[in-house]
Amino acid sequence: MSSATWWLEVALRIVVVFLGFLVIPLVVGQMEHKAMAHMQGRLGPMEAGGFHGWAQLVADGVKFAQKEAVVPDAADRTVFQLAPGVALVPYLLALIVIPIGPGTQVGVDLDLGLFFALAVMGVAVLGPLMAGWGSANKYSLLGGLRSAAQLMAYELPLILSAVSVAMAAGTLSLTGIVEAWHWYWLPWQLIGGLVFFTAGLAELQRPPFDMPVADSEIIFGAYTEYTGLRFALFLLAEYAGIVLLCLLTTVLFLGGWHGPFAEVHLGWLWTAIKTFALAFVVIWLRVSYPRLRADQLQKFAWTVLIPLSLAQLAITGVVRVL
């Protein structure tokens, strides 16, 4: 009997996480459509679904599903076909360990939660590499190699700044980190938070760090040869990545479900508000800044972000010892 309820609970948690995984990226995508349009003096989608084009992404999904899935002749079929899954599934897995509210409001309360999330996000970056290598297309290859260079450079500051929080909390469990969080962590971990967010943007290849997909230079980088549903999966992976990055930043640096009041009952709401505010910043940055050049990108990672994250690590260590 207890085993039956256990299975039921597991199934329920999986379903909830899966639904969130399918819906929240679409909400962020719609937000991007609208916010970006208004930042450029446009209105964005206004027709699909009637009210301010709310169903635009649903319509896009239907369109993608109808398209032919083309695999180039010279492509490495297996790698080519597997790549979208490799890009997408890790974000789903990482979503499981992220707490959205106090207590048991988490898919799985893993002791190694932070480690798991970062490791799985590291797998996700293999997707573009596989796509770039498997497409048998020079633009895809260039995009894939650019991805590789960029991801290598930005994985380090991402992990170093996350380590700083783990040190401050004294645990790798994401729920433990949120519980240990105090408001004074905001100034204390400020540098780490900025580095984490920036490096995460670069990991996701979001503008202004979108050199690997620079459309004016190499068409669409690693995704050039993709059509139909596989292409849609890559796009979904991008937005799932945004959601995950914003959730992680919220949990690690902004106190997760901590809020001004009603933390026990409205914890999930505080998490959601912070996450969507960060997602808005992601979009805002995309609209505001031009793309970084290859050398600027590398220089920024190695001479700015990594020293900053090391400095944050030192500050955290000193404060912990004191």
Binding site: A35, A37, H38, M39, Q40, G41, R42, L43, M46, W284, L285, V287, S288, Y289, L292, R293, D295, Q296, L297, Q298, K299, F300, T303, V304
Partner: protein, 244 residues
């Protein structure tokens, strides 16, 4: 790498003189996009909201059929020959027995081929009877180019969409018609004055002539009120003045 390539975090434009605070460019960029976001979008929702067209929009050419005398001036002036006019003569029986019969032109067909028309407006300029007019209506696209040839009933439907004429600029010269009408009115006034003076001379033989002097300054006055309200139709008024 290139030593002059700037750190992306401090994108200072190379301004001569002072150096900006590092990162101020980044903040400025964010502020610009945010300001644009909270101000109104430039998009016009065209099919839902009809556009505000300027008053002299050249949308389509409308035909006021009653004014047309089938004189063919428009068809002959049209640079690409896109106006088709057919007419025949009708005889009107004499109104009084023994009088002369009259003939007049009856318009059978008036069509403009808008697939040829280049919207130069020469036909409208040239029409002496104001039978053609610009209408701002523009939604008359067709699926087949042959359906762009519009007959007089369709051209007549567009008459309702002709906007009233725009008021003249304050500093603008008066239209020619008004000047003509004023001239005619002044002529009439002097004739009346002369008549009055002659009558006065006849009636009063006593020597008191200075009373008739202040009349001339009032001459232009009576002509003004009827003309200023309706500028496009003064020729009729000037005809009236001539007839009287």
């Amino acid at each position: 790498m290139n030593p002059q390539s700037e750190n992306p975090q401090s994108q200072n434009p190379q301004e001569p003189g002072r150096r900006a605070v590092p990162g101020s460019g980044l903040v400025k960029g964010l502020a610009t996009t945010f300001k644009t976001m909270v101000s109104h979008a430039h998009t016009r929702q065209y099919p839902d909201v009809s556009p505000e067209l300027p008053p002299r929009t050249r949308g389509v050419i409308a035909l006021i059929e009653e004014n047309c005398t089938s004189c063919m001036l428009c068809a002959r002036e049209c640079p690409d020959w896109c106006i088709y006019i057919d007419s025949h003569k009708e005889t009107i029986p004499a109104p009084t027995p023994g009088g002369r019969e009259r003939t007049r032109n009856v318009l059978d067909r008036f069509a403009i081929d808008f697939s040829l028309c280049m919207y130069c407006g020469i036909c409208i300029e040239v029409c002496p009877f104001d039978a053609l007019e610009w209408s701002p209506e523009f939604e008359y696209a067709e699926y087949d180019i042959r359906e762009m040839l519009h007959e007089k009933d369709r051209l007549g439907e567009w008459v309702e969409t002709i906007p009233p004429p725009v008021a003249l600029d304050d500093a603008a010269e008066e239209p020619k018609e008004i000047a003509l009408a004023q001239k005619a009115a002044a002529k009439r006034q002097t004739a009346l004055d002369a008549l009055a003076q002659a009558q006065a001379d006849q009636a009063a033989q006593r020597p008191e002539p200075p009373e008739q002097q202040p009349a001339p300054p009032e001459l232009p006055k009576p002509a003004e009120p009827p003309q200023s309200s309706q500028p496009p139709e003064p020729p009729a008024d000037s005809d009236e003045g001539g007839a009287e």
